[in-house]
């Protein structure tokens, strides 16, 4: 398999880079070792488009975060991904913490973040009546937003594939050689040749770079646990509530999600194994204790799930973006921790610039279409719209997931979309079937049935998320 560009890693960064490159008349492949895109840190983070006051001025993090916020609106609009500008608060819980807010405000202003202001408790309580008793004031960041990171990633991959890029799942890169002016990648799908390689491998970006002998990237795996609460709790706060940051990150936040749940987390613990996403009882306990300081009404009785993600923390403390010193046609987009989601569109733009400079400028496709059509979301439609939809296609009249009101039609769309769902979790992330309060207890088996039927395989070959994650074994006696 021969390509002009191979992008390694289908997280949000790899997805948006691939989409960016799909506007040229070149062959682009997106290589992903899992059975789907958005399987690493992308599916398990705080889902915030940060305003940009955290990063140290002058760093790539600062620059790309602020640029990312600008680009995110256009990207989400083109990809039909919901983006909600819900504002953020950084809360001080003592007078001693107030100067820290001033510092963040200054920093944000240097970074070019608009509209930052500091409020005292009186106004804070008006903004968020459920804020904790010990809160004395807060920094208000009006440009902070929430977005669903895997939805953005899936939409990006879909759009890239529609524009001619190839999405190669279950494609793990195990060696890279550089022979005759091209990279030869040894992968689980066979040999892949590419003139350029882009390393967007998240927590594994250090290992991927070392395959070409570039050992300069040091990644620490920073583990974070989260709770997701029922939609009945989604309006406890309307803004994203941060606490004053620490050396380990932005601390525990309480925030509504764009789908109306409440997310609480993360903890932060450095671990060795980038693939270890087991939650820990210590981490879960820690986020709960911290969360109730911000919002005392947070109750774990309403937790519908807990999960964890691993951020790729670079020891250099800044994003590593640019050509490798070993080979300039190997371009790193590595060490992308927070604000990685916020920066992703800007990272894609930056990589686009770098690769075009190296190549002397790729030719643009005449028929590039930046728009990914909006998927049917039955739950958001009016009665009239629903009736019309079912008239056209009866599959929209059968509700499969009762908690989230997801129809069979939406599940079929998710499976048959470009780079569509191949497993139960893939259907879940694309449609929300199984994402509700019963967590797939009822619809799980129906989704397995539909996947088996549409992919034309027996039910016991359907997995939860690829690999050996099979849901059923043999037939009963």
């Amino acid at each position: 398999m021969k390509y002009d560009v191979a992008v390694i890693g289908a997280g949000v960064v790899g997805s948006l880079i691939t989409r960016e490159l799909s506007k040229y008349n070149i062959r682009v492949a997106l290589l992903e070792r899992c059975n789907d895109c958005a399987m690493g840190a992308t599916k398990a983070n705080s889902a915030i488009v940060h305003a940009g006051f955290d990063a140290v001025p002058g760093t790539l993090k600062a620059k790309l975060n602020v640029r990312g916020v600008e680009l995110m609106k256009k990207t989400c609009k083109e990809l039909s991904v919901p983006l909600k500008n819900n504002e953020a608060l950084v809360v001080a819980f003592s007078e001693e913490e107030m100067p820290h807010l001033e510092m963040l405000k200054d920093r944000g202003e240097q970074n070019g973040v608009p509209g930052l202001r500091i409020v005292r408790r009186e106004e804070l309580v008006e903004l968020e009546p459920n804020i904790g008793d010990s809160a004395v004031g807060a920094l208000v960041a009006p440009t902070s937003s929430i977005v669903c990171p895997y939805e953005l990633t899936i939409a990006g991959v879909e759009n890239a594939v529609t524009n001619g890029a190839e999405f190669l799942r279950n494609c793990e890169v195990t060696a890279i050689d550089y022979i005759d002016d091209a990279f030869k990648l040894t992968t689980s799908l066979g040999e892949i040749t590419a003139e350029y390689v882009i390393n967007a491998a998240g927590v594994h970006s250090g290992e991927i770079a070392s395959l070409i002998g570039d050992n300069s990237i040091e990644i620490v795996v920073r583990h974070g646990d989260y709770y997701l609460l029922d939609k009945s709790q989604g309006s406890l706060v309307s803004r994203t509530i941060f606490q004053c940051p620490t050396k380990m990150g932005k601390g525990v936040l309480v925030s509504p999600t764009v789908d109306g749940n409440l997310i609480v987390g993360p903890s932060a613990e450095d671990i060795d194994n980038g693939d270890d996403v087991a939650t820990t009882s210590v981490g879960l306990e820690k986020i709960y204790v911290n969360a109730i300081k911000s919002v005392p009404a947070v109750s774990l009785r309403n937790a519908i799930t807990s999960f964890s993600g691993n951020r790729a923390h670079p020891t250099s403390d800044d994003f590593i973006i640019g050509s490798s010193d070993v080979n300039k046609k190997f371009i790193n987009a590595a060490g992308i921790e927070s604000p990685g989601l916020s920066s992703a569109p800007a990272i894609a733009e930056m990589i686009d610039g770098i690769i075009n400079e190296l190549s002397g400028g790729f030719e643009k496709k005449a028929d590039f279409n930046p728009v990914r059509p909006e998927p049917v979301r039955f739950r958001h439609l009016s009665t009239e719209e629903r009736a019309g939809l079912i008239e056209k296609n009866k599959a929209y009249g059968r509700i499969v997931c009762r908690c989230e009101t997801i129809t069979e039609g939406e599940i079929l769309d998710a499976i048959h979309a470009p780079a569509g769902a191949r497993d139960v979790d893939g259907v879940k992330r694309r449609t929300r079937a199984g994402m509700g309060r019963c967590q797939g207890g009822f619809c799980g088996s129906k989704v397995v049935e539909i996947l088996a039927r549409e992919l034309n395989v027996p039910m016991n070959e359907i997995t939860k998320f690829g690999g050996q994650s099979k849901i059923m074994y043999h037939k009963t006696k």
Partner: protein, 417 residues
Amino acid sequence: MLNYDLVVVGGGPAGMAAALKAKEEGVEKIVILERAETLGGILEQCIHTGFGLHYFGEELSGPEYAGRFIELVEKTDIDVFTDTMVLNISDDNVVTAVNNNEGLMQFKAIAVVLAMGCRERPRGALSIAGSRPAGIMTAGTAQKYVNIDGYMPGKKVVILGSGDIGLIMARRMTLEGAEVKVVCELMPYSGGLTRNIVQCLDDFGIPLRLSCTVVATHGKERLEGVTIAQVDDKLQAIPGTEEYIECDTLLLSVGLIPENELSKDVGVELDRVTSGPVVDEYRETLHPGIFACGNVLQVHDLVDYVTEESQIAGKGAADYIFGKKKGGTFINTKGINGVRYIVPQRVNIEGEENLKLYFRVGQVYKGAKVVVECDGKILSSKKKVKLAPGEMENVVITTEMLKDMNKDSEIVVRVEE
């Protein structure tokens, strides 16, 4: 808009019994809306026997029990829509539903019976640390895989929670050749029926560990094992008691939650303990014309009682439709001292029939008395060999007892040791 006298939401044992009773009482236009492909509800996957001992005086399987009611429904002119999901009930009792044949439908009803049943508590509600591989599911989901789809969801099984479905699945998985290693129960007693512990665990030599829980799950893609630990009297894991058990499947039977999303949307008031609607003795909710019965009202252990309760709701709905529902003076019932809740929560002191108050206790009692009192006066007191949280109990309130009550009275049920 389709006009009906009675719309029944849910075609399980509760919905069918309510509809049939209403029909018997003379209600003309009745429709049952069922989300599954057939009537019968969860009984369709309960292929074990033990249903109907009280109501039919014989031991039936779940599908057989349901089958008897399905046959009766088919003999009437009750309309049935299967594969049909109710999306919403409006304030004026318009029920909006959808299926892939008729599309969106709206039913204008005089009365509505809520009979949506309940769902199982998922893993997320438990905060078990660890990985989230395939192989962790509720016992009911596993039951569907085995009994309906015909596939085995695992070979080496640990079950957390000794609710009835967990116990039934311990036996079912064993009969299908799986190895059930242990059933762990957080509480110092089982939440299931005694007969199920004997017939599903003891008879197969499956150990039941009380005061024990799963503290971690292991395995990346498919479950590889769980760590279990003993818990103290505050239900916290005791350090040092952890034990690793190799398994590929963890089944959860850790409680059932009445599915009241529709009820909440229309503003039906719920009981904090049962998570079901607050009802009077006719099973009418505080929203006029909306009745509730079966597991959506309170989680039952015996379907026979579901039938009994649903017939009350069906009769109540019929009376409401005919404008015969008894008004009167309603007083509250209250469970204290070990009695966790009472259904119905409201009783008409001008009622003309004896009625039963159903309740569950919060722990196991041996040789304790169940005392019913009102305004400081003991109405009844009955000694019970055993009271357990897994078994629903009832006491009878006679019209005689109601005579002395007034609008400020409160009927209290308590356990006395």
